[in-house]
Amino acid sequence: MMRLMRSVGQNSLTTVAGLGDFATFVSHAVAVVPATRQLGRRWIRAVHEQGVRCVPVVTIVGLFSGLVLGLQGYYVLARFGSAGALGTLVSLTLTRELGPVMAALMIVGQAGSAIAAEIGIHRNSEQIDALTTMGIDPVGYLVTPRLFAALIVFPVLTMAFTLVGLAGGYLSGSVLLGVDPGVYWSAVHSAVRVADVRECLVKALVFGVITIAICCHSGFTTHRRIGVSGSVAVSVSTTRAVVLASIGTLAADYLITSFLV
């Protein structure tokens, strides 16, 4: 019993310490902005790294998500004679929930994992120590531009996902299954309110900051992985980054939805 309590206590302390360390890390990344040189240039590179490279995966997944939503939605709504509401179902599902969450998960899988691995390798090969000895703040150099890039990449890609998803819903619902295109687009137009778009963008921004911060932190702390080192530590950091960022996305989604709905 004592051993169980000790174990729970130790794990709780480790978790709280880890959250504190993460909060300090993110605060440092923001606080170092005024002292960071060439932030704009590195920010543009980070936008390319996170954004442009993720466009194919986000649009392809968005298209198939819309196609499946259109199919499933049509058959369910048709049972109740409400196939005309397909546009409402697809647009609200994508705007309020699926768009931000799926886009975030796709960016984490593509760019977040790459960020964690790259920073992990920087850590392993002493490049982060080298930055420190050169008088360069490694958080400002490696993390800050990526964190700020997420503020533009996530909302833009979420919008792209949603728009392509709507097109996918139109393809399966109207082109394949015969819902009148005018009815479909009219339902989309009347269903989506400004508040829905705002919810979508708020989620995208929050997911962006949380996931990229988790990925950067995981790579940055590669040397702290217990029981592993070298390439295995980088691998563990990358996996950890993707898992924690995915959980973080879904947990944040629940919290934001609870407050905004």
Binding site: Q127, A130, I136
Partner: protein, 249 residues
Amino acid sequence: MIRTTVPSILEVNGLRKQFGEHVVLASVNLVVTRGSIVSVLGRSGTGKSVLLKCLAGLLTPDAGEVRFENGSVNKFRRRCSYLFQANALFDSLTAFENVALPLEQTTRLKRGEIAQAARNALKSLGLDKFADHFPAQLSGGMQKRLALARALVTHPELVLFDEPTAGLDPPARTAVFEMIVQYRREFDFTAVVVTHDVPEALAASDRVALLEEGRIYFEGTPAEFAASGDSVLRSFSNDIIAARTGLDG
């Protein structure tokens, strides 16, 4: 002799560092005079690299202090460079970009001035023709020179060398030490070299120190080291030379 006439650039007093229960540095005292090359010798695992990382501010000592000309390590950091054992070059940046990096990030120089300074540093180390090459496209010796070019481009007053000859064959080891001596004259820096290459260190250094059991066991000139009949010094030298002969075949 040097200590009485030349001011010290670096003073280490009672430096202690332990990891868990393992005491790596018990109490290290060391004085480095301006313009000198000081080699810190010691067997593998005696804490030479830990000492160097404490000097560079990469590790925080548990006790003791590191003073640079009566200032703290943080104030001195921009006047100090560190040459890593594995070079720590940015593999996604070209040789030119690697050398330009510290200037871009820590100075207010204009782009043209940075480019000129980086080109000069590369030229000084014979790498001007490889400016567009990535580190992986360079040989081990060239990577070492590139790391040195990056370390010297900011004109540091103190350069810390962590096992600069690790993994190199005997001629390359001698060449690295000759390079340190040559560029010390050219760039006018003070060097602290952590190594276990006894003959090369004795030939190149102004002073040598032996780190043994977490303390500086010996500190003096190479001639004093070579002439000493102390059993620990002799045992260390003999063991290192025997191990090297075995490894080099």
